[in-house]
């Protein structure tokens, strides 16, 4: 159950449109299913009132959309950003990917998003409707009737260890802070403790599931290259489809390396992966190493900070 009501979000957006400060709003729109929420650019208050949704399935991070959206018009675009999304937003500003002046940021406090996979694990397939009530999700299924799930049990992995706060906003709804106390590196540590063979077996089985749909890249707010090396014939890395298991490794290692030090750990890659590969564990490995080797670093936390891979000290550890 979200701390902030849908009506408060609509009020904030409507205010910006009415005053003329922004002429469109980037928000979440009702999809075919309740859990299938789509990013959408709303052009009027009517549209917002009709189709805008805010709830436990609004996981999508809009930061990346702003690159194209801000280029479309000279008018400002309003955007809803959850605490985790604001880090991506800042990181993109650091990288000059769009102009801050062209965006009105409405920071939205978030109580964590639900992971539809967890719900399906309990309620099974055939979900027709999901309603939130008093900290529970009532899942209406075609085959098993109504299944009641504690919202906490449906929380996405990334939300279970979220300690983010809205680091940038023009208007803030709620306190904009999260203080979960789970260790986000627990799974990484668990893997580190395995033997080399076990780790290899783990990643081989995970990455072999990859179908190279590129969803992880396309959703990633750090992957905003004008032309991705994996699409660019000049790069020698271009490959339309994976030929064998090495190709996926290369793709995922290089993708993680390209976003190392820039990845804000927003978890979108794992959220969108149709094969359920825990891709965030690659990024978190880099984050964990960076923190351990070069000091605590949170990408996107502060404007103007220097990413660890474009920085050095003369006393750095040896490889």
């Amino acid at each position: 159950m979200q701390r902030i009501n849908r009506s408060e979000l609509i009020k904030a957006a409507a205010k910006l449109i009415e005053s003329g400060e922004a002429d469109r709003v980037l928000g979440w729109k009702k999809g075919e299913f309740d859990y299938d929420v789509t990013p959408y650019v709303f052009n009027s208050i009517d549209e917002i009132e009709k189709d805008f949704v805010w709830g436990d399935f609004c996981g999508a991070n809009f930061s990346k959309y702003l690159i194209k959206e801000t280029a479309k018009s000279d008018k400002k675009v309003a955007v809803f950003l959850k605490p985790c999304d604001t880090y991506s937003f800042n990181q993109l500003l650091i990288e000059h990917r769009f102009e801050r002046e062209k965006v009105c940021v409405i920071g939205v406090s978030c109580s964590g998003m639900a992971d539809i996979r967890k719900i399906k694990d309990t309620a099974g397939e055939g979900i027709a409707k999901i309603e939130e009530q008093d900290g529970y999700l009532n899942v209406f299924t075609l085959y098993d009737g109504i299944v009641k799930i504690d919202s906490k049990d449906a929380l996405a992995e990334r939300c279970l260890c979220c300690t983010k706060r809205c680091v940038v906003y023009d208007e803030l709804l709620g306190d904009g802070e999260n203080k979960a106390d789970n260790d986000r590196f627990a799974k990484v540590e668990e893997l580190e403790e395995l033997t080399e063979e076990q780790r290899y077996a783990f990643w081989k089985s995970e990455l072999s599931k990859c179908i190279r749909c590129n969803a992880c890249r396309d959703v990633c707010p750090a992957c905003t290259c004008e032309k991705c090396v994996f699409d660019d014939p000049r790069s020698v890395l271009e490959n339309k489809a994976a030929a064998n298991e090495f190709e996926e490794k290369l793709y995922h290692i290089i993708r993680a390396f390209h976003v190392a030090g820039r990845c804000t750990d927003c978890g979108e890659c794992s959220r969108v992966c149709p094969q359920n590969i825990p891709l965030h564990l690659l990024n978190r490995k880099f984050i964990k190493d960076i923190n351990a080797f070069y000091g605590q670093y949170q990408a996107g936390e502060k404007a103007g900070q220097r990413a660890p891979l474009v920085d050095y000290t003369t006393e750095d550890r040896e490889p």
Binding site: E197, Y200, V310
Partner: protein, 144 residues
């Protein structure tokens, strides 16, 4: 009779100013090292992209060595500091994926350290030989 084993193939990236000169010095001093080490000259160790390393593994290399000037002595002043960070993270990631960490190595070799170059290559070859062929990162298509 000893059965001849396949010698491990090692690609070595050497920076033009220190390590490549160090390798030349090993030659000048006629210091022997295994012939399966092939050197690729780069202007600076910071030119070595992680994809070069992965590509070498993919195409059948069993080990990849990166040599640069000692930190603080880089011809371009800061290049090897970036190399150090990049390779630290990359190698740690490879290890995390279950790739033997002995297959990758960074060594700082100055233009005066011909002996160090030869020794590094000897040790590295021995370490990689002990692991055997690189199967985990090899691209099967490229095998003859």
């Amino acid at each position: 009779m000893q059965i001849e084993e396949k010698k491990p193939l090692i690609a070595a990236f050497c920076c033009n100013w220190c390590s490549y000169a160090g390798a030349d010095l090993a030659g000048n001093n006629r210091l022997n090292y295994p012939d399966n080490v092939k050197i690729i000259r780069v202007p600076c160790s910071c030119r070595v992209d992680p994809t070069f390393i992965l590509r070498a593994f993919q195409r059948g290399a069993d080990g990849v060595l990166i040599c640069g000037c000692h930190p603080g002595d880089c011809h371009y002043t800061t290049g090897n500091y970036y190399t150090r960070r990049r390779m630290t993270l990359l190698f740690s990631m490879l290890e995390y994926l279950g790739i033997e960490k002995e297959r990758t190595r960074v060594e700082w070799v100055s233009a005066a350290e011909g002996a160090k170059f030869a020794q590094t290559v000897n040790e590295f070859t021995a370490a990689v030989s002990a692991l055997g062929e690189n199967r985990r990162l090899e691209d099967l298509r490229c095998k003859e």
